[in-house]
């Protein structure tokens, strides 16, 4: 009987319109995931170039911007495709509203992608000197080769806000209290380091053992701290009634509970141990496996975190 099922002090909605379901779905997850790779590889490259001789990672000068460029284009493509009026994207540049993190982010990400493209062209043409030897464009690009090293510090600096602005968008999303956590900023940074190191693992075959060990180290640290932060947010984020209601629902085994724990085990715990073991004995196959797990797990974790607060009725 209903009186046993419902606390008598509670109210029951008996007539209402249907509420919107998930509004920001998998395209936004993919967008955030791809951006993590796009900026993450830049941080990882900066760290490795600082720690090691360039010869130890011979292909990184062109593979890093190439991976970043591809990932950033996936990110930009899905940003565009998720718009209900994609052609009007231009309005962000024609009528920018600077209080919006979406605007600031779009401008910064566009500039960042432009610079990465320049680095990719320089890195690519320098790495393959025989490719289009007599082509005018190739010659010009090869002529500005030192420009790569000059803009790189600026690109690393710019990668920081490009990584973090999504956390500001989430902070501006007043209707989704779960996202409005200060930890989100760091979570974006760890995600970038995790995705960046995982992506670079795939091109690290010919690198020195020491450089690869550092890659494994970054992956291990990033998965560890990201996991700890997720646990902190998952168990202790009872800072507001709405965030609490969202988490209580997931805790009780509701939808997305399995995806969350699957993502945590697969994408954070397993790669952490694989990466740590790899620091002792260099095993390229296992490291690659850890990288795949980390990338899949990161996608799942981001997907759950994006979707769960959207299931809460707001009014």
């Amino acid at each position: 009987m209903i009186e046993h099922g419902i606390n008598a002090t509670h109210a029951v909605v008996t007539l209402d319109v249907p509420l919107p379901g998930i509004i920001w779905g998998w395209m936004i997850t993919l967008n955030m995931w791809a951006k993590s790779i796009g900026t993450g590889v830049v941080f990882v490259a900066a760290f490795l170039w600082y720690r090691h001789n360039k010869d130890e990672m011979p292909n990184m000068r062109w593979t890093m911007p190439l991976i970043s460029f591809i990932a950033l284009n996936v990110f930009l493509l899905f940003t565009l495709v998720d718009l209900h009026q994609p052609y009007r994207m231009i309005n962000i540049f024609l009528h920018p509203h600077w209080t919006s993190a979406i605007t600031v982010g779009a401008w910064m990400a566009s500039l960042f992608t432009g610079l990465i493209m320049v680095m990719m062209l320089i890195g690519g043409f320098d790495a393959f000197p025989d490719f289009r030897k007599n082509c005018g464009v190739a010659k010009t690009v090869r002529g500005i080769s030192p420009f790569y090293e000059k803009i790189f510090p600026f690109v690393v600096f710019l990668a920081i806000p490009v990584t973090m602005y999504t956390a500001i968008i989430m902070a501006e999303s007043s209707a989704r209290e779960l996202w409005q956590a200060p930890t989100e900023v760091m979570q974006m940074m760890w995600a970038a380091l995790m995705a960046g190191s995982a992506a670079m693992i795939f091109v690290s075959d010919k690198w020195s053992k020491e450089a690869r060990r550092d890659l494994a180290l970054i992956l291990a640290i990033a998965t560890f701290f990201s996991f700890i932060m997720y646990m902190g947010e998952y168990f202790f984020s009872f800072k507001s009634s709405e965030a609490e209601a969202t988490l209580a629902y997931v805790h009780s085994g509701g939808a997305y509970n399995t995806e969350f724990w699957f993502g945590m085990a697969l994408g954070f715990i397993a790669p952490f141990f694989l990466a740590v073991s790899n620091m002792k004995s260099d095993n390229k196959t296992l490291l690659r496996f850890a990288a795949i797990l980390a990338l899949v797990g990161l996608y799942m974790a981001k997907d759950v975190w994006l979707k769960i607060p959207q299931m809460l009725p707001l009014s």
Binding site: H10, S174, A175, S241, M311, S315
Partner: protein
């Protein structure tokens, strides 16, 4: 001037006249609402009561939707109305993530965000909002909250003791939409349960689409060339009928 709304929930009888008037006045498409009247049953028989709560945009003085809109499609008017320029909206749905009251919807015909505008077009020509005019018990009171002699200001002053409330004051949005006769059970959605099986509208607790249900990724790019000539509201009825058990559609808690 700061225009505001006040709804006296003691007077509202849940006739949904305002809901219909708003739909007609603003040509709000099927499956979307600028204003809805929610029925909430409180207590257990024989100590049970049915309560009616009209819900619309609050025209917040510190509006998160305006802040997050990347192109200023959402903007303040001088009279305090938070207005929307659909011609500029890019359909990013950022505002839907930002409005703590779920007051914004993606118009399935224009594929742009839309919401209650306090009938800005009627105000401009000196008329009252459509939902105010239609209300048979005058439960909707509309006017300038900065003018001490306006109806709404007098009403607020008169009911100060018995409690004039806004929704989710903790969000610091400073809503310009007040309720008299409301309480946590009627104004806080987390204090209410949405039980499948006890709703008059079963199995459609959540919309299956955001914006046009027949507006796939490719259509978004082809839309300006294809137009909406073939489009009619029947398609919404069809989409609501389709039985999909995924939690994304029927979720909520």
């Amino acid at each position: 001037m700061k225009l505001g709304f006040l709804v006296d929930l003691n007077l509202c009888m849940g006739c949904k006249g305002c809901e219909v008037a708003c739909k007609v006045e603003n040509e709000v498409p099927l499956g979307s609402w600028r204003l809805r009247v929610k029925y909430i049953d409180i207590g257990v028989f024989p100590e049970a009561s049915r309560n009616f709560t009209p819900l619309r945009c609050n025209h917040c003085e510190s509006a998160p939707c305006e802040r997050i809109c990347p192109v200023s499609a959402l903007h303040y008017l001088e009279n305090g109305i938070v207005n929307i320029d659909s011609a500029r909206c890019i359909g990013c749905a950022g505002c839907m993530m930002a409005c703590p009251y779920g007051a914004i919807y993606m118009d399935p015909e224009s594929n742009t965000a839309d919401k209650c505008t306090y009938c800005a077009h009627r105000i401009e020509s000196g008329m009252m909002p459509a939902c105010v005019v239609i209300c048979p018990v005058e439960a909707n009171i509309f006017g300038d909250v900065e003018d001490d002699t306006s109806n709404i200001s007098l009403y607020i002053m008169e009911h100060q003791g018995s409690g004039v409330q806004v929704r989710k004051p903790e969000k610091h949005t400073d809503p310009k939409h007040y309720y008299v006769g409301g309480g946590t059970q009627t104004l806080d959605p987390l204090a209410q349960q949405r039980l499948e099986g006890y709703n008059l509208f079963n199995k459609i607790t959540h919309l299956e689409h955001v914006g046009d249900p027949h507006h796939g990724v490719l259509d978004r790019f082809l839309a300006p060339f294809a137009g909406h000539a073939e489009y009619d509201n029947k398609s919404f009825m069809d989409s609501e009928k389709s039985d999909d058990d995924s939690y994304e559609q029927e979720g909520g808690h």
